[in-house]
Symmetry: C2
Subunit: 284 residues, 2 copies
């Protein structure tokens, strides 16, 4: 399996490549959720490029950029275990793991891409600039790889919405494919940040998926307004960043036009911030 470390090499590859390329952008420390994305790409593309890049632009000054887990050797071996899924011998599975930040953002790089309007709620509020960093790196990775399809996990629901808007607004020639959240047996959504949790915190963290599940039941059985009341109670707790129920098409408050809601939550356990969500169709 080819591992590409430089900007020059990925550009040389993608410029020459005449096959359809699927990209799976990741920050590494891969878990089964990431691998599902890779599997989906392998099914649909002759070439799959998994990118592994801890993007400094999407971390705030007080966030975990420095300590974000970097496990390239493990990541490479996890991805290479999927090579057996290549559908024929001409297909390729490639890792693009830039050896430094400059391989993605060369010296003096100074352009920011922002999708407005979708970032003033949920994670956007507590992480100013985060989604500008996401949009900018996603744009760069699309340009460098010339991908035709891109695979993202629904755990970062707000991110998937913003990236779809980015692609639509800028007419990017990339189809976005969204893949369901993968959970541990006890219900906790897989996340590279789960590694930060100690045993007690790992146990407490189950509160997050349980509450999402409770809110889902409330929406289905008692209606949105009952579920909203519950979020207000949750939102008073000190380790809760937010629980919100919003129109899943645009993150606006639920209205008569809403066909589907996203129930989204973010909580802190020790120093670790985790997010989770689920989508619920509602009947008009």
């Amino acid at each position: 399996m080819k591992v590409i470390r430089s900007r020059e090499e990925i550009l040389s590859f993608s410029n020459k490549c005449d096959k359809e390329i699927g990209i799976v952008p990741t920050m590494g420390n891969l878990h089964d959720g990431h691998l599902k994305l890779v599997e989906a790409s392998l099914l649909n593309n002759e070439v799959t490029i998994v990118t592994i890049f801890v993007n400094p632009k999407q971390f705030g000054p007080n966030e975990d950029f420095q300590k974000y887990p970097r496990t390239l050797d493990d990541d490479i071996s996890r991805i290479s275990s999927l090579e057996e899924l290549l559908k024929n011998k001409d297909n390729e599975l490639i890792i693009f793991a830039p050896s430094s930040v400059e391989e993605v953002y060369p010296a003096n790089f100074n352009t920011v891409i922002s999708v407005k309007g979708l970032d003033n709620t949920l994670c956007g509020l507590n992480r100013p600039g985060h989604f500008d960093g996401v949009c900018t790196v996603v744009y760069q990775l699309f340009s460098l790889t010339k991908a035709k399809r891109a695979y993202f996990g629904l755990k970062d629901f707000q991110q998937t919405l913003i990236i779809r808007k980015l692609v639509k607004d800028l007419l990017l020639p990339v189809d976005i494919h969204l893949i369901d959240i993968i959970r541990d047996e006890d219900g906790l959504a897989l996340s590279s940040r789960n590694k930060y949790l100690n045993v007690d915190e790992r146990l407490q963290a189950l509160t997050l998926p349980k509450r999402i599940k409770n809110l889902e039941q409330l929406v289905k059985e008692s209606g949105i307004s009952e579920a909203m009341k519950k979020t207000k109670i949750y939102n008073k707790e000190s380790n809760v960043d937010y629980f919100h129920i919003l129109d899943s098409s645009n993150l606006s408050p639920v209205s008569n036009d809403t066909c589907e809601v996203v129930i989204a939550g973010a909580m802190r356990f020790g120093n670790t911030r985790l997010i989770d969500n689920t989508l619920v169709k509602i009947n008009a």
Copy 2:
């Protein structure tokens, strides 16, 4: 000559077109400076698309978006006079004049592209958000036309620098060509905004190119520090927005590494703000 008015039609054209496309982005009210850009494109491209679009995103709330001169019929006839320059009968000269803002920015368009670091001086200071609007529209026009080459006038020097940075940072597949300032016989740089000037103001406006010329002579004959002293005197006047002498490669203060300076000025005559500049090579 084909005049395209809708997003759908320009996309359908550019998606099918297998020839190299040159784009000349304008806001209309064309003068000989614009026509020079069109001529340059006709020489180098099988297809030239002149875009005519008064871009609301690059105007501040108190600027002249509403009254900016819109003269589409005149513009069309001026451009069609250049058809005789088409080098062979398969070549094409096309106007893309979106019939509304939505043809460039569809409903809910909400993405902003910003090049940082070059917009905190000269026109960027007095026109906050202006260059974000320029970058965003230029990006859109490049996407809609799929141009391979783009032609810009050096009168908006800061703009040309920002667009070149945009193209470099985002790896846009467009070559940027810069064309010299065209002046009236008395020295005033051509600008669509010259139309706003009454007879007195038109006379006063010559101060701008004269000062640029004076500063150029000072740089050449007495050195940069003498010229800088002069800009300080000019900058005290109430109708002067700025006179600056900066490194032309990055708009930083002149340093030992500077090979070329830009002498740039902006002044107001009545309600009309005009800009001008010149480039001067300096010997290390």
